[in-house]
């Protein structure tokens, strides 16, 4: 017995020695300790209340995409649990989740950043998933507020109000322009009018040097290349604004395609989100697409000058966007359209964008934060909007919007 034990011990010692010498074992040990270290760090920090490691820059941010909803999930409530605990003290604290349009996303991101630096206890998470997604999430109560460039339809409102037991508020925040960006290296200025835009997007005008385009752009060397159309592949308020305009100005478009957040595009490639479309236009030579003004400016894409209702060619910009809102009467629920305005210097494809909120929210702290943020954004946030070339609301409209914000409260 002793002998057997001794031999066994010797065998184990030998294999241990082999392990020590073995290169493979060392690697396994290192890999194992790295995994262990990672796990330790993860569990230590994960078990703490707040998950975020301290960073120099602001902590909240826009996530790239949304937790898709399903009949049973409620990711936003668990996300809320990660924020600092909600208190009733004067200092605002808590977290808010919103999702929706990519149209105003660049602005909302800046507003969130500024607001959070003023109120460090607040985390606002905004996810740009398209207006359609925003309305869906908002209706299912998986986010605290939605954002859309297309006002909710009556059936959508009815559904949302049924689920939440509260009324839906449309709060306009800014106005933005939908511009036509194109990728033609040698063409500095491109003029388009309603007929040519409809023709291009219907697939009837297929080459840049088509007679109708040449007529609008005398003296410009338009190449003999195929026009590559780019549109949105997701459900989008920007699409709603653009197709709304086309339906107004082109009977053929109204008959064949119509208006909506998603349509059956006769031709073209799809891009995901405003940034996706801008990216595709950037990557694909000889292409044309529609994006919100801010995306065009930031990505350095060239924009077309459009002929408006009054017959003038207008360059997209802050002033021409604001000019579109003059003389419009606003209904009580603030669901209105700004496209194809009559003003002489109005840019023809302009839309407002709304924050969707319920007038009664379940969580009083969240209601507080939402109200405070929207109030701040509509008043002190407007210079920021101007910087990013979104047109702030006119005085009259801002007052109406602030009234709606004041109506937000808790159950």
């Amino acid at each position: 017995m002793h002998l057997v034990r001794k031999v066994r011990q010797h065998l184990f010692k030998e294999s241990l020695a082999r392990l020590r010498k073995g290169l493979g074992r060392r690697v396994v040990l290192t890999v194992g300790s790295v995994i262990l270290a990672t796990l330790t760090i993860a569990f230590i920090s994960g078990c703490g209340g707040n998950s975020e490691l301290p960073t120099a820059s602001s902590t909240a941010s826009t996530a790239t995409s949304v937790p898709a909803t399903s009949p049973t999930s409620a990711p936003s409530t668990s996300a809320a649990a990660t924020g600092a605990s909600v208190t009733a003290t004067p200092a605002l604290a808590g977290s808010l989740n919103g999702a929706g349009a990519t149209f105003p996303e660049p602005l909302y991101v800046e507003w969130i950043g500024e607001f959070q630096s003023i109120h460090p206890g607040v985390t606002i998470n905004y996810q740009g998933i398209g207006s359609g997604g925003g309305i869906e999430q908002f209706s299912k109560l998986t986010v605290d507020f939605g954002a859309s460039d297309a006002p909710m339809k009556d059936e959508e409102i009815a559904k949302a109000e049924q689920v939440s037991g509260a009324k839906v508020l449309h709060i306009p925040t800014v106005m933005g322009a939908v511009v036509l960006v194109y990728n033609l290296p040698n063409v500095e200025e491109l003029k388009l009018d309603p007929d040519t835009i409809a023709g291009i997007f219907l697939g009837e005008i297929t080459k840049w040097n088509d007679a109708r385009l040449a007529a609008l752009n005398p003296g410009v060397a338009l190449p003999d290349k195929t026009i590559q159309v780019v549109h949105r592949s997701d459900s989008s308020g920007t699409t709603n604004i653009f197709t709304g305009y086309l339906t107004q100005v082109s009977k053929e478009w109204a008959d064949k395609v119509g208006k909506g957040k998603e349509v059956d595009w006769p031709v073209g490639l799809g891009g995901q989100g405003n940034d996706g479309v801008a990216a595709v236009v950037q990557q694909q030579a000889s292409s044309i697409g529609y994006v919100e003004l801010s995306y065009a400016l930031e990505s350095g894409l060239k924009m077309a000058t459009l002929k408006n209702k009054a017959g003038n060619f207008v360059t997209p910009g802050l002033q021409s966007t604001s000019a579109a809102a003059e003389g419009v009467t606003f209904p009580d629920d603030l669901r209105f359209s700004l496209s194809n305005s009559a003003g002489p210097q109005a840019y023809p494809i302009v839309g407002a964008t709304w924050i969707l909120a319920y007038d009664k929210m379940k969580d009083p702290a969240k209601a507080e934060i939402l109200k405070a943020w929207l109030n701040w954004a509509l008043t002190e946030g407007s210079p920021l909007a101007g910087e990013l070339k979104y047109a702030p609301l006119s005085e009259e409209l801002r007052k109406l919007a602030l009234e709606k914000v004041a109506a937000i409260s808790a159950f």
Partner: protein
């Protein structure tokens, strides 16, 4: 005298307390780990099919025969995606198979010994590159440098053939097919290399002895002997191409349509799942899971057929 040289003396167990259960427990644990794989696979199939069942029910056969995909209207016809997946994979195979065969033949038959290592290494490097990097490179480098000019060229000179009808786009079935080809070349070529290496050398010499040129030897001996293995390798490459998501999503154009021309944008099953998932809700998600189930079924069938072929091949 012990009955068997490997039976441990019974006394030691009791003394050391290493129970007689230790061995059985260990064996049980090992067996359970193996069974876990089966359970995971089974659960995968059951869970996803279960989630997708309502959509299969409401759409019926139209799920795979109709190309009308309109989530807001509750219409989910996945034909456009199935078509796109197959088209891009076929394009990828047409490009990749000759190139892979060339590479593997070069490495087994033609290459001087010094080059064999580095070139084999370089080709295998293609296999290590993650697909998202292929997508990034494909969109920013390959597209302007090769895909768009090639598409323009094909449409201009061969545009009378329906599959090359314009207006041409680099972001199309063609573009996705090219990047898929680059991705599956290392898979097919490494498997073919293994197959060709098992061809016995004396058969090669016999061919030479009979006066064959090198190419004839390859054709009559290597390729003939390795035919089943090559087919199996190609099918495995096809299986990979069918399931590839990211690179295709970036280069296929995200257009829900069926087009005979490969120079037009389209969509594929894996790409639509990745693109539309984030904003999908309710029945839309179930439909996407349903597409995943269809994709899984197709890929599994092809993979199993490939392995069955390889298994047949490995038993002469």
């Amino acid at each position: 005298m012990r009955s068997s040289p490997v039976a441990p003396p019974a006394g030691t167990w009791r003394r050391r307390g290493v129970g007689r259960w230790a061995d059985s427990l260990f064996a049980l644990f090992a067996a359970l780990s193996g069974v876990l794989i089966l359970l995971t696979l089974a659960y995968m199939v059951i869970s996803t099919t279960g989630t997708a069942l309502p959509v299969f029910g409401s759409q019926g056969l139209a799920f795979v025969t109709s190309s009308e995909w309109s989530p807001k209207n509750g219409k989910f016809g996945a034909l456009a995606f199935i078509y796109g997946t197959f088209t891009t994979s076929v394009i990828a195979l047409i490009i990749a198979v000759p190139l892979s065969l060339g590479v593997s033949l070069f490495l087994t038959e033609y290459s001087p010994r010094r080059l064999k290592g580095p070139i084999g290494y370089a080709v295998d490097l293609l296999a290590a590159v993650p697909s998202v990097i292929y997508g990034l490179w494909g969109v920013f480098v390959l597209l302007p440098l090769f895909l768009q000019p090639a598409a323009d060229f094909l449409a201009k000179y061969l545009g009378f053939i329906p599959i090359f009808k314009g207006p041409p786009s680099g972001i199309s079935y063609f573009g996705a097919g090219v990047i898929l080809a680059i991705m599956i070349i290392p898979i097919i070529s490494s498997l073919c290399r293994e197959v060709f290496a098992t061809v016995p050398d004396d058969e090669r010499q016999a061919a030479y002895a009979l006066g064959a040129t090198k190419w004839e030897m390859i054709r009559e001996v290597v390729l003939a002997r390795g035919r089943a293995g090559v087919i199996s390798a190609v099918m495995l490459g096809l299986g990979r191409a069918l399931g590839e998501t990211i690179a295709v999503a970036l280069l296929i154009g995200s257009k829900v349509s069926i087009d005979a021309s490969i120079l037009k944008p389209g969509y594929s099953m894996a790409a639509v799942i990745a693109n539309q998932f984030q904003e999908a809700t309710g029945e839309h998600i179930r439909a996407l899971v349903g597409i995943g189930v269809v994709l899984f079924a197709i890929t599994i069938v092809i993979n199993m057929a490939a392995r069955a072929l390889a298994w047949r091949f490995s038993r002469p």
